[in-house]
Symmetry: C2
């Protein structure tokens, strides 16, 4: 039985409308799980080790529901295109390089190190279609103490020759080999990752569905991000009633297959209903949707309708790994959408985006994203002292300010599943 | 005759469509003015002192055309309101505190220190209506080596009792006293600052116009930011044909009075034409316009029509002093506007926003914002080594990436008018 506590000003989401704060509170961990947050350390745990972080802020680790590891190298570059052109010009040529394991290791090392030093404790990661490099990424993430899902990407059509998998059979076989090879990992787990409908043949989707059933795997992909993309899916899959239905037809849209879909900028009523029924998670990626001029997803509508949702950075269509910036972008874009596009959908609040970045997205991993009893103990300790202020701020105000002004260097300590991973 | 050079990878705007880069180039300064950028140091200057910044990036100092110094304390807080409510709830109560010079000095010290450590070398600053605190701010900015315009704010109506100036006479008199008291400053100069039409009586505007003529002063204010504000101005000033005309009627809208107007989100054709004829500068503040749900200004239209324009952070309606973030927001918001509101106005490019943040806004200060011969020598040296990459990037790519990922700690050195102000 391993127990310890950390002390500081603690903030976490109770629900999407409430942030609970405890000044100089104690968060207690037992065997990787949180026992709760207390104003004073309960008598029974008086002797356990406790790190007192003083005036620092403690929050649950943040959850990035959508990030592309091999795109990290070119974040902030080539942001002058829409989705399909951007994929062909920047993304696919870069991802091709990951066939070269030496290049992959060099590039992934940077991604892993920066992810470790970020406020993110869980992530749903796209790798590339290369099984060796993907496995290496997973092993090194686990070694670094990180947790989450990583997917070897599948793409057997409409992709450049150097990146397109040689055959559907090869794609499926590589995927199964990768699944078996990653079986020994405990914190970084595999997730089925058909890139998106345009690059995955129907036969491939069927094969992935078989693997899903055989190994009981979650899945991640992209959905209704861009108008041209949606039109393309309609042409490629005329039997589907909506984009989401093209996944559902192959059993890869929630239900028995826990699924997270990035974007949903243009999901129609039918698709929304289908996501709700199938329990599909939405990874809302507002910065990416601005950078690729995709639009602004109606996050307020999804929240109000009770859909499962979290935030994603979507590096490199999003430029930063910072989940704080994802929160800021979610608020800002929702305000612009309300002003310009649809006054019936009110802007998102601080409470809501903090919920999305913690408990909302965390639910995809189980009991993750809170410091309530029973949750896995993921926590980040933040020293925001460099953001000076002429008066004393409350913990809630400090959290609000960090949404706009956080930098990784403010992270003082980081815990994942009860294990301290920062400082190294 | 004081001459020196700095060496590094140099980027500056030639015009709004062209960034000129020189790898391992020399920027030469003589008596505070730039003599140009050279691939090799010309023979005649071979012996002058030269600091070699190696692989670091050198750019012109950035120009913030609109920032509120007393609002810096609450940046990132209370971002859930529109303009008028936000002013009444957060801004005015905070600005009231600046009557207390001790509080003002404490808060302004933080602002000055952070501005010094930012990439900004010139700024148009709003203070409050308090002349003592405003003068103190100017003196300390000048001592720190900063340059720009600072305005004592005028507001004699529609303001809370504690902040509203006691009379029009008092407002005008305080303004003249402040002008005389600041006469000894050379780099931080006064600028007339009627807050905006709703808080300035017609009589006050007349008095300010007299002061403008007497002392030949520039002016700054707000224009067409928010729909309710515009409606209010229409009610308050029915004789004006547009919001801008309400300034013009009192001679405070360009022409002989160099003027910069923040926002212009909703300027109509008449107002645009008037700004063009009068040479009024626009301070485009995209992050602020998102945070207060004001909308997105048609910056592309202003650029295409040849209006004078730069970028502003508009702290604290904008959350960050970083002009890099202002550039990123300008691109991102222009993409969303193009997608959602008006496909006839193409998104802004990297070249355009870099121009706006340097030469475009710099023009308000004279020959500022470039490293071409004859420009005042404002430069920032940036070490972006922490943004690791798996391959070598060109200076232009590094600049593009910094738009999204710059942090103040990357600033290695900073020069204003040829004087090195950082590191301290």
């Amino acid at each position: 039985m391993e127990r310890f506590a950390i002390r500081g000003h603690i903030c976490y989401s109770e629900d999407k409308n409430k942030i609970r704060t405890t000044e100089h509170g104690y968060a207690v961990c037992e065997n990787g799980k949180c026992l709760g947050v207390f104003e004073a350390l309960p008598e029974e745990w008086k002797g356990i080790p406790c790190v007192d972080y003083g005036e620092k802020l403690i929050i649950p680790g943040l959850v990035d529901l959508h990030v592309h590891a091999p795109q990290y190298t070119f974040r902030g570059l080539g942001m002058d295109m829409e989705l399909i052109d951007w994929l062909n010009t920047h993304t696919f040529p870069e991802e091709e390089k990951y066939q070269n394991t030496e290049y992959a290791q060099k590039a992934y090392s940077i991604f892993i190190d920066d992810l470790l030093h970020s406020s993110t404790t869980r992530a749903c990661v796209f790798a590339t279609c290369h099984k060796e490099a993907t496995l290496w990424l997973m092993e090194k993430m686990e070694e670094a103490g990180l947790a989450g899902y990583v997917g070897k990407v599948n793409m057997d059509r409409n992709s450049p020759e150097g990146l397109c998998e040689k055959s559907t059979e090869r794609s499926a076989k590589d995927t199964e080999e990768w699944l078996l090879a990653s079986a020994g990992l405990s914190n970084v787990r595999p997730i089925l990752t058909p890139r998106f409908i345009p690059t995955c043949s129907e036969e491939l989707m069927e094969r992935l569905s078989e693997l899903q059933k055989k190994y009981r795997l979650p899945a991640q992909s992209h959905l209704s991000e861009n108008l041209s993309e949606i039109e393309w899916v309609r042409e490629l899959c005329p039997e589907a009633t909506c984009y989401g239905d093209a996944y559902r037809l192959h059993g890869l849209f929630g239900g028995d297959c826990p699924t997270v879909m990035a974007h949903c900028v243009y999901s129609n009523a039918e698709e929304i209903q289908m996501m709700k029924e199938q329990g599909v998670f939405i990874a809302h990626c507002p910065e990416s949707n601005a950078n690729l001029a995709s639009g602004i997803a109606p996050a307020r509508k999804y929240l109000d309708q009770g859909l499962k949702m979290g935030l994603g950075t979507d590096v490199a269509a999003g430029t930063s790994l910072s989940m704080f910036r994802a929160m800021a972008a979610a608020i800002q874009c929702s305000k612009l959408r309300w002003r310009i596009q649809d006054e019936s959908l009110a802007p998102l609040t601080v409470e809501e985006v903090f919920y999305l970045a913690t408990k909302g997205g965390g639910e995809f991993f189980g009991k993750v994203g809170s410091l309530e009893p029973g949750y896995e103990f993921d926590a980040v300790v933040i020293d925001d002292g460099m953001l000076r202020h002429a008066r004393k701020l409350s913990p809630k105000e400090r959290l609000e300010r960090l949404i706009y002004l956080a930098e990784d260097r403010q992270i003082q300590a980081k815990y994942i599943k009860g294990k301290q991973v920062l400082p190294i």
